[in-house]
């Protein structure tokens, strides 16, 4: 039995109390210290580590001499881009231009924003260094003379492709302009697939290259399982797609419809969309939640859209996944009906259906944009389709109205 003196209960009680309070205050301090670890010791805000060019603009006294339209004086730069291209008129003086840059807050740019540079000899390299000084990015800024589309038929043979980078091992298609400069015309959703299945081989991406084309290489688009990360984001599959425009990876996992920016400026009146395809739908059509819908067969889609790329006030307009076929800006649509299974190269040839007359002056000022879209699942933008559905495409032509 423990020997405790109980002879003076009252005294003992009081002593207990006083001890309790004495030590309670000690403990309080200790508790406050612990709470401090969680709440109060926030350090000074770290300096910004990013170093992006967000937008570039050029101020010139007579923009119409240099650019096709006032809105071309500003280029918004995607975070994934490292090339900034201004589209300028033939004969424009490019020897002394002073682009201004909107960059990450606190970052520095070299050469400085607003400094006069000579762009006539090709791209000028700008380096942006983060506010923290730890990180930097290099950008190529160029003023590309837009060459008129000479031929009445624009050919897309898909023979020029490469891997995006050492890290991002997926195919990118990029045709050359008549003057030899890069057109940066084709985009795919491969950048989004990379985010969820980064270890995939280039041939396992939804948009890839195959050798047995109609001539040379062809494009192979496959509706693919996006794996556990895709499922987690309620994007259980990715249709293989290829389109004229840009893919903004920034929005790929948040607002996929906004990631596909369709179309690039075009200066002819397209009348027919032609080419070759093969199609093999996948076995099990599934909805967005991954439920297999029996009796539903997947379909591919091939279409082209010509649209007005400015609004009434002259502000630039881009059409996205959710409005590229339905927007009021759409001027003409050429769309294949019923793409069913075929194991042989099958020729397609569809007419552009015009909603309104083409304005020749707008055409010459590049106020129309053209996109051509291929997808292995017609509802791939809604993440519905059959995994394994495969669309092969080659030798695509946009036949334009002949100008005498």
């Amino acid at each position: 039995m423990r020997k405790i003196q109980y002879s003076n209960m009252k005294f003992s009680d009081l002593r207990g109390f006083s001890c309790f309070f004495r030590h309670f205050s000690l403990l309080m301090w200790f508790t406050i210290f612990v709470c401090g670890v969680f709440a109060s010791c926030f350090k000074d805000e770290p300096l910004n580590a990013e170093c992006d060019i967000e937008a570039v603009y050029v101020h010139v006294d007579h923009p119409e001499e240099l650019f096709f339209s006032a809105s071309d004086t500003l280029v918004n730069v995607l975070y994934s881009d490292d090339k900034v291209i201004f589209r300028v008129r033939r004969g424009a003086d490019l020897t002394s231009l002073a682009p201004r840059f909107q960059i990450t807050e606190g970052a520095r740019i070299e050469p400085q924003s607003g400094s006069v540079q000579d762009f006539s000899q090709g791209p000028v390299i700008y380096q942006v260094t983060s506010e923290s000084g730890e990180w930097n990015r290099r950008y190529e800024v160029s003023f590309q003379v837009v060459t008129r589309t000479v031929n009445d038929t624009v050919k897309y043979d898909f023979e020029r492709f490469y891997l995006k980078s050492d890290k991002e091992k997926y195919y990118v298609w990029n045709d050359l302009n008549p003057d030899g400069s890069e057109a940066n015309n084709w985009a795919t959703g491969n950048g989004g697939f990379y985010l969820v299945k980064s270890k995939s081989e280039p041939s396992a991406y939804p948009s890839t290259v195959v050798e047995d084309g109609v001539t040379g290489y062809a494009v192979k688009l496959t509706t693919s399982d996006t794996g556990p990360l895709g499922k987690l984001r309620n994007m259980p599959l990715a249709a293989g797609n290829l389109f004229i425009g840009r893919f903004d990876v920034q929005n790929a996992l948040t607002n996929a419809m906004k990631a596909t920016q369709f179309g690039l400026p075009f200066d002819k009146k397209p009348v027919r969309l032609e080419g070759y395809y093969k199609y093999q739908p996948g076995e099990n059509f599934q909805d967005r939640d991954g439920n297999i819908l029996s009796g539903v067969t997947d379909k591919a889609t091939i279409y082209a859209v010509l649209y007005r790329n400015k609004d009434a006030e002259g502000r630039p307009i881009v059409l996205y996944g959710d409005n590229v076929q339905t927007s009021d800006q759409v001027v003409a649509l050429a769309k294949l009906k019923d793409i069913s299974a075929t194991s042989e190269w099958t020729k397609f040839d569809v007419a552009f259906n015009y909603n309104e007359e083409i304005n020749q002056e707008m055409l010459e000022n590049y106020d129309y944009s053209l996109t051509v879209v291929f997808s292995s699942s017609i509802n791939g933008d809604l993440f519905e389709g059959a995994i394994g559905s495969t669309l092969w495409v080659d030798e695509v032509r946009v036949v334009c109205l002949k100008i005498e």
């Binding site: 207990g16 030590h23 612990v34 975070y79 990015r137 890290k167 990360l229 990876v249 996992l253």
Partner: protein, 251 residues
Amino acid sequence: MKVTVLLLFLLVCLEAGASGWGALSDSLTYYGRLGYHIGGTAPIGMPASIRSLSKYDIPANITLALDVYRPLQGRWGLMAGLHFGNKGMETDARVKNYHMEMEQGGESIEGFFTGQVITKVEEWVLTLPIRVAYDLSSRFRLHGGPYVSYVFSHHFSGEAYNGYLRQGDPTGVRIDMGYEPETRGTYDFSSHMRRMQFGVEAGFDWNCYRRWGLAAGVSWGLTGVFKSDFHTIEQTLYPIYGTIGLTYRFK
């Protein structure tokens, strides 16, 4: 399930302690404890990448314990015990360039996140503390010493939202995260958590009424909650919890 079994086991121990074991040795006193944990799993010293705490919730963190006390000399004694309980918290913090990784089924996106990060931690822990006790008075006892814990159920998960991740490093691809559930980034690092932990704890017991008393204390983890080869969260996170509760002296 494991939790329930252990809880039952402990209750049985307490029962046994109350009725039978006490008679075995005159020099031992047994205490039962019921307590409530308040604290968190946090780095020692906030990293600059954590900007502010928007929310801090403590779930019902309970501790149920059986302690045995043996007097040594004068006011000194020894206490050992078996403590069982959970340590949990949920925080929502604003971060800047916070290193993180979204992982699911072997696929991952890793990089630096700026925005809001929710962290949910829950550990069910069986702890064996050995403490030196000092009686300030007949009713007031201080105690402190090391402990070893076995974590038999652990959970560490969360979400990144209203912000963006720069993949790989701050120059990498920027991926936006929204507010809606399907636009958030989620992570689960439960499988990277450590099973064995040790640390120190200190506290006091105040015998206030007959066999009943009040107790308060702090347990300070000296091992991080994650295995040492886990580097996604750059700072080592320690379980640091305060406890308040009731004691009951069985004998």
